[in-house]
């Protein structure tokens, strides 16, 4: 009897799992007819489980929202967009497998996805071999430009360099001493290499630049903060932080507890955005800075519409967080990406990857962050750089904006200054 029960439970479990799988495949099978059906398929490749899920789920929601908006206004070239959503589960190898599945089995016209650089690097060969098109919405370290990837996030000269320039300018405080602090992996290492070379080229003496790294999940910032404190005694000092994820809170808490403030020594962060601040104890972060190309608080009609639509979407779809959800830089670009692709397809009159890519070059779009423009030669976006100051409610006060669109330079020659149109 007991055994029977166990089998019964197992059978129900198996049936549920099969049911779940079927749902997934039915969804895609509907559009499987190819050219003669009235839909066009796109792939969504964001982690919905595992460590990266917390960041990437919001991007999936933004992509889906853009798809719903476009479909409601009649679709693209007379076709409804049908997203094929897969879950690479924060596993870099699975990213490559899932992208193969999307490109070869599902034959999607474009893929929207990835967050970490390592996931992008692992799908890059798949997209190049199968001539796919990946829209990548997150700021990254540069030193890469594939014709099969559209990079809508910032490259170093659109985020790091403007931030350094701002801090050195009289308006930003005229800082002369820089503490480069990061988590030990590829983005902070590359970012700090570029920042250091740039600061040196601007006449900052080498002894005024300190570079330091901590392991992932580092929690004890006592020693580092006391080093920063000693460093700050020299006056006109600031911290450029590429600290990642859960190490941020212990760092900011220790910083405040040892008596340092945004006035004596501000922290300019390159990896802290609204979505991360959503549930954090922001009390310790108030007054510190962050560099991005979009903030939820941007005062533009496009943005107000976007923020309201995103909150309404989260409420309507009953997503966790509901109307407390916020938008941030990667969410803005994930949303913009879908429109860039749709507009390029309209312009090309085709969903063919080569034609869409051709049409993308030089394309401009009124994004929530203001006007942006695809570079005429490479698949990168020209955009404004902005500096925001953290407010107690976890939002940013935009205190500086670049005068014009900043052209992307993925291969940033270390001595070049930022080219402003």
């Amino acid at each position: 009897m007991i055994f029977k029960n166990i089998f019964g439970v197992a059978a129900i479990g198996a049936a549920l799992m099969l049911g779940a799988c079927n749902n997934g495949s039915e969804k895609t099978a509907a559009g499987g007819g190819g050219a003669d059906t009235n839909t066009v398929k796109i792939g969504v490749l964001h982690s919905l489980s595992g460590t990266m899920a917390i960041s990437e789920v919001s991007l999936k929601d933004a992509v889906q929202m853009a798809v719903d908006e476009i479909n409601a206004s009649g679709g693209v070239l007379g076709k409804q967009i049908e997203p094929v959503i897969v879950d690479p589960a924060s596993n870099w190898d699975l990213f490559a497998e899932k992208s193969k599945e999307l490109l070869i089995d599902k034959k999607v016209s474009a893929v929207f996805g990835c967050w970490t650089s390592v996931s992008r690097k692992s799908v890059l060969p798949v997209f190049e071999q199968n001539n796919g098109l990946l829209f990548y919405p997150v700021q990254y370290e540069g030193e890469e430009s594939s014709k099969n990837i559209v990079y809508s996030g910032a490259v170093p000269n659109q985020q790091l360099i403007p931030a350094a320039d701002y801090l050195m300018s009289p308006e930003g405080g005229g800082y002369k001493r820089f503490y480069l602090l990061g988590t030990d992996y590829v983005f902070p290492r590359t970012a700090n290499k570029i920042l250091k070379a740039y600061l040196l080229s601007k006449g900052i003496p080498a002894e005024n630049i300190i570079e330091e790294y901590t392991p992932f999940h580092h929690q004890d910032y006592q020693t580092i903060v006391s080093k920063i404190k000693k460093f700050a005694v020299g006056g006109k000092s600031c911290v450029l932080s590429t600290i990642n994820g859960d190490s941020n809170i212990p760092f900011y808490k220790e910083f405040a507890n040892q008596g340092l403030t945004a006035v004596t020594c501000p922290i300019m962060a390159f990896s802290v955005a609204e979505d991360e601040l959503r549930a954090m104890d922001t009390e310790f972060l108030v007054g510190h800075l962050a560099a991005w190309n979009y903030y939820q608080s941007i005062d533009l009609p496009e943005n107000k519409k976007f923020v309201a639509a995103f909150k309404a979407y989260c409420v309507k779809k009953n997503l966790p967080g509901g109307d407390k959800r916020v938008t941030d830089d990667p969410i803005c670009w994930a949303y913009t990406d879908v429109y860039l692709w749709a507009n390029a397809a309209k312009k090309a009159g085709s969903f063919d990857v080569a034609k869409v890519r051709e049409a993308l070059l030089g394309l401009s779009f009124d994004s929530p962050a203001g006007e942006v423009k695809m570079d005429p030669k490479i698949n990168h976006l020209a955009k404004y750089a902005m500096i925001g100051e953290i407010k107690p409610d976890g939002q940013f006060n935009v205190i500086w904006k670049s005068k014009g669109l900043i052209d992307p330079q993925p291969f940033f020659s270390l001595t070049d200054s930022v080219k402003v149109k």
Binding site: I54, T214, Q222, T223, I249, K253, A256, N257, M280
Partner: protein, 298 residues
């Protein structure tokens, strides 16, 4: 220098707080409890829940009160979780070190994912106002109150644990079972009850540590993993089941890693401390305070 000394003592006291429970459980049951870090996580989430309960349900907006309440609550909740673990899983795996290692590791993964599903990844506890800021000793030396509080908490906890182990009947029984399980059972000690009580106290101490950790870090599902390796280092180098060993090893590792970190980068500091530990264990494989005499033969 004083700053480094203070940082070292502060880190050491955190390590001691986490390792105490691990050490007495390991000493008594001979089980490497891989899920020990997750009791820390349970303690931290208990603190978070107590905070939400106070602000959202009871509408008590006293930043200090909830924290004081959550200290004992997190001890009890984590202790009960430890008791359940002992009853349901570990009791069946005594004297099977490898199986219990794998089983507790599996449980730790389940607990982490469970916390992620229930709470999500972004939670933090508001710092009680009485513990924010610091004591300005000199112009360039500030001792944060939160750190001072943790040092104080560790001192009190160690004192109470000492009193419990050496002044109470239960303590005598725990020490007896730790030394020789069969003999104690022959003498009429209910070893199962002692096992259960030890698990309750050990896990509860981890929960208490978790509650204290909310003062300096945030609350994330895998926060226990960050500390479990370090606390194993403390337990192994201090000598298994030795309270005094845990205290000295905790302080020693805390001080050495902070001094190393001051001269090298944090990443290399970590590498060096592991290297030192390997060399140390070559010469003292039974830790700082090994058993002497006949009990050492077992």
């Amino acid at each position: 220098m004083i700053q480094n000394l203070f940082s070292g003592i502060s880190l050491g006291s955190i390590l001691i707080l986490i390792s105490l429970g691990l050490s007495i459980i390991y000493g008594l049951a001979g089980i490497i409890n891989m899920a020990h870090g997750e009791f820390l996580m349970i303690g931290a989430y208990t603190t978070y829940c107590v905070e939400s309960l106070f602000t959202n349900t009871l509408h008590v907006h006293n930043g200090n009160l909830f924290f004081l309440v959550s200290l004992p609550v997190s001890f009890v909740i984590a202790g009960i979780a430890g008791l359940l673990l002992e009853r349901l899983v570990i009791r069946r795996l005594y004297a099977k070190p490898l199986e219990s290692l794998l089983a507790t590791w599996g449980i730790s993964l389940i607990l982490i994912q469970l916390a992620r599903t229930i709470f999500g990844d972004l939670t933090s506890v508001k710092m009680p106002p009485m513990l924010s800021g610091g004591w300005q000793v000199a112009s360039d030396l500030v001792l944060p109150y939160s750190r001072l509080f943790i040092i104080g908490l560790t001192t009190v906890t160690v004192g109470l644990l000492y009193a419990c182990l050496f002044k109470t009947r239960l303590g005598v029984q725990i020490r007896a079972v730790t030394q020789n399980r069969q003999m104690s059972a022959c003498l009429g000690i209910n070893t199962r009850r002692v096992d259960a009580m030890t698990f309750f106290i050990g896990s509860g101490l981890a929960g208490l540590a978790g509650c204290a950790m909310t003062l300096i870090g945030n609350v994330v599902p895998d926060m226990g993993q960050t500390y479990i390796v370090d606390s194993f280092l403390v337990v192994v180098s201090g000598g298994v089941g030795k309270l005094v060993g845990t205290i000295f090893a905790g302080l020693g590792i805390g001080l050495i890693s902070k001094v190393l970190e001051a001269f090298f980068e944090a990443v290399y500091g970590k590498v060096l401390i592991l290297l030192l530990m390997m060399i140390f264990l070559q010469f003292k494989p039974r830790g700082l305070f090994p058993d002497k005499g006949r009990i050492a033969e077992d």
